[in-house]
Amino acid sequence: MTISAERPTETAAGTAAPAGPRRVSWTNRPGWMSQHLGTALVLAFLGYLLGHWWGNHIAGNYHYINGASGQNSVADFLALLLMVVGWLVGIGALNYPIAKLFGREAVEEAPAKGMSRYFRYTLDHKVVGMQYVVGTLLFLFTGGLLAMAIRTELLNPTVHIFNPGTYIEIVSEHGTIMMMMATSVVVGPLGNYLVPLMIGSRRMAFPRIEAFSFWIFSAGYMVIFSALFYGGFPTGWTGYAPLQNQAGPGMISYLFGFAVIGMGMIAAGFNIAVTIINYRAPGMTWSRVPMFVWSILATASLLTLATPVLFSAGLFGILDHVVLTSLYVNEHGGSSYLWENLFWFFGHPEVYIMALPGFGIVAEIVPVFTRKPLFAYKVAAAGMMGVALLSFFVWQHHLFQSGINPDMRPLFMLTTELISIPTGFIYLVGMGSLYKSKMRLEIPMLFSLALYFNFLIGGITGVFLSDVPVNVTVHGSFFVLSHFHYTIMGGLIFAFMAGLYYWLPKMTGYMMNKKLGLWHFWTMFIFFNMTFFPMFIIGLLGQPRRVFEYAHGLQGLNDFSSISAFCLGASFLLFFWNLMYSMIINPKKAPANPWDSLGLEWQTANPVPLYNFERIPVIVTEPYRYSEPGAPAYADFGGGGSDGGSSGAVGSSVEE
């Protein structure tokens, strides 16, 4: 690769100002005559009304569609469908696809300025990343509130706040919102923002697909949330048939919401995978790719290939409700197991969609705060891809208790246990990196260490659960619930927090307050464990999930868990307060490279220029050479690191 390091003299350093006049598209037109969040909301609302009217017009007189409840599924579905279409039209997502029909190509758009760009359909991956930050935090907040409602109900085994139907709706909505949020919580905000920076690219491969992924993800949130107004759905987040077929109109929101968010996940994974494969900077061979990028590549592959199955499963369910097919109805030639198979064929890779980015984040953070290279880099990369591949072959372990052929159990028990090997690789890489290190216990590092602690518990209980005898005993109990909260919340959400504390100074230009951050970490870590560890015991003692009445003898443990959960919720409020305090009330400018990282993302100017790098960097060595004073810098900017620095030479400011 022979990219010249010479800088053209006529350009302004670091600003990447547009060379000439640009056309202003509808999406960026100033003022009311443009497309933005407001127009999206208005058109989504109008689309909803139109869809409802249309559905009632064409199917209102068919009693076998309306059924005993008088609820018209066609109208419900069309309302949601046209709501999503209206949303996309309103935000401007369809402008370019329509222009292409007339042979037009992309308009070189002048980027919107100021805060308004965060409310528009934008092609800047950094803005999309920030949009995802807000979007996923909104998901997290909503799902968290529902969790508080669940724990409030479980304070007493017999005195109830909700009726059983409302309780299961809350549980279902909590699970669905959280799982859909979790699939995108790292790939969306951090993947979109950081991947181009970390691979030395100025852009994403398909920025419109990237923007589409966020806005359809938001639409999916509205669709899933709308279930509450339709009376919810009683199936839990797994949506099992035949209960699915017996459920009310809220089920359509669930099924369509999954399909819509699935489209967003496919789009996000597709764009990121293509970007990583093609847009790596010169010299960035596969053995020089940062581990976070490896994890995102593995995740993006899973998103792209596994999510179409979820989309199909959702589509089949919608057809069962709207045009009365019987794909999941045993009595009419369908099968409820079909849903279970399709759902878990996506659902288990989804587990790794959630786990892998978390490990990628901590693998990026640990070397920075231990000043050591990442231990066994290639093993970690192989582990990531190994987990991604094997995750397609384990889904039937979710059906051990659902009536699969018993002869199939040993096979899927074996594949499930096999997957613990590459997962163990990834875990041990972290342990190897921590071994004999002198750690700087900054907040991102604390969250990373907490991940290793939590995931150890979550992972080992997972190995137990993959064994058929244990699975038979604890299936459907709080033991399982605790296991997956330890892996998803204890793993992914802790890693997400580590990532936010680590990268927000880059993304926003401001440091998070350390004192508040420490309070947030310790309260979250302690109360997380106090909330979920007792649930292992509760589960072993026989309390089933999704049931609001339980044995009196378990009240003590449940109350302990509930009170801890409220404190855990309060710890998130601390985080939100810290976010507001550090970004708005008392903002403190972040240094260009506050953690003294060698990562490429820290070598560009702060705030990051529109095109990320003034010069495309040339990667000259491995990414984690922290313990080698005098080692060459990771990248060569041709004498012009955007911050004017030496682009990541080792051992500069941190005293070991």
């Binding site: 010249s4 350009t11 696809p97 293509v274 290939l305 179409p308 045993n330 099968s335």
Partner: protein, 218 residues
């Protein structure tokens, strides 16, 4: 693929950087086209799984009511139209590579017409189905197949139409130079797009034959 090169480079990029980014862009079109096939494969695989799963389960002996079959004339018409669209798209691509833009355009427009006819019949077939959607496992999977096929036809026809429309406009933008001969980035990007589209259409052709055999041949 949907994104183009025109707005991709930083204004202060050096010529080498522009060339590097352009090569990345061409690689993205190549990778994106193949990945789109991967996405479609997993979607159709889930449908095939549903078909064979329900067929082997035969719950309530209702996999298929004896004699139940989707209208064969419609099936043939749709299959032929899809094959024509796929074949013409691929043929157009091969002609474009040999320097015959007009052939590409004629083949492309004819392919678009074939796609639209396939779309019409695929939708209309739902109106004339001789069975209710929920009457059997076969009937249900068939309806699901129709919906999926509509999405596939729409996407394939859209891709072909936008490529042909682009070739018309591109000639004007290149000042009369034919897109197959120009070395301008935008023309090379266009050719890469057509190449990816051609692969995708080939895939659509294969899929349509496979699912025709599954659903229309008893």
């Amino acid at each position: 693929m949907t994104d183009t090169y025109k707005d991709s480079t930083a204004p202060n990029a050096t010529p080498e950087e522009r060339e590097f980014e352009f090569r990345s862009h061409i690689g993205s079109i190549w990778t994106g086209g193949r990945l789109a096939i991967g996405v479609a494969t997993f979607m159709y695989a889930s449908l095939a799984f549903a078909y064979f799963y329900l067929r082997s389960s035969n719950n309530s002996h209702l996999w298929r009511i004896p004699g139940q079959l989707a209208p064969l004339y419609y099936g043939w018409t749709i299959l032929i139209c899809m094959l024509v669209m796929a074949g013409l798209g691929m043929y157009g691509h091969s002609r474009l590579r040999k320097g015959f833009t007009n052939d590409f355009q004629v083949a492309g427009w004819t392919g678009v017409a074939a796609g639209l006819i396939a779309l019409f019949f695929q939708i209309w077939e739902l109106v004339v189905l001789p069975f209710y959607p929920g009457s059997s496992g076969y009937a249900s999977t068939f309806v699901a197949f129709v919906v999926m096929n509509i999405m596939t036809i729409v996407f394939a026809t859209y891709w072909l139409e936008t490529a042909v429309a682009r070739s018309l406009r591109l000639r004007k933008e290149l000042g009369g130079t034919r897109p197959e001969l120009s070395s301008a980035h935008t023309a090379r990007s266009f050719r890469a797009n057509v190449s990816s589209m051609s692969y995708y259409l080939g895939y659509v052709g294969i899929i349509s034959i496979g699912f025709f055999l599954m659903f229309y041949v008893q």
